[in-house]
Symmetry: C2
Subunit: 102 residues, 2 copies
């Protein structure tokens, strides 16, 4: 259901930021990375394994997600753990799946 408390009018600037948010979720690899983090923080090598993409490619995409503030990272020894920055992404994927599954 559409949240009635949300103002659906938006300025041009807001639309661009919103498009950028969806853009981050529009690539299968990035989307899979985000979904892998639903169960908690994951290190780069785990993410690479789960998505079957090279460590380098994953690192590039994580940088993109981090710059866009969808994820944040924490360093521990030689591992870097990535996690969702907030729960909105999870909500969006949930809503998206509702649509996909009709």
């Amino acid at each position: 259901m559409t949240d009635p408390g949300q103002d659906l009018q938006a300025e041009a600037g807001e639309v661009k930021v919103l498009a950028e948010l969806f853009h981050q979720m529009a690539d299968p690899t990035r989307l899979l990375l985000l979904m892998s983090m639903f169960s908690g923080e994951k290190c780069v090598c785990e993410l690479a394994e789960q998505t079957d993409v090279s460590v380098s490619a994953v690192s590039h995409q994580l940088r993109s997600l981090r710059t866009a503030r969808l994820v944040r990272s924490r360093k521990n020894g030689r591992h870097v753990f990535y996690m969702l920055d907030d729960d909105h992404v999870k909500d969006l994927v949930s809503k998206g799946l509702e649509h996909v599954r009709e």
Copy 2:
């Protein structure tokens, strides 16, 4: 809040379809077109006017949105009216704006 009734596990195929959904919403022009339809069906020339994009470009993007089943159209005389195919898009934009507005 994350819908607890939604299964957040997804197969590879589902992820691709979901990415495609977000991809449609990831372009500022397409997003603006979708948002213009929140208040009801609009003809191509109205949409072009509101988004300040050429009629040709709008038509191309509407075709993309229609193929991806985010919108559907209805012909009346020489006008073609476009409308959202269901309310999920509206929900996604609403959730997205929550994120953007922190």
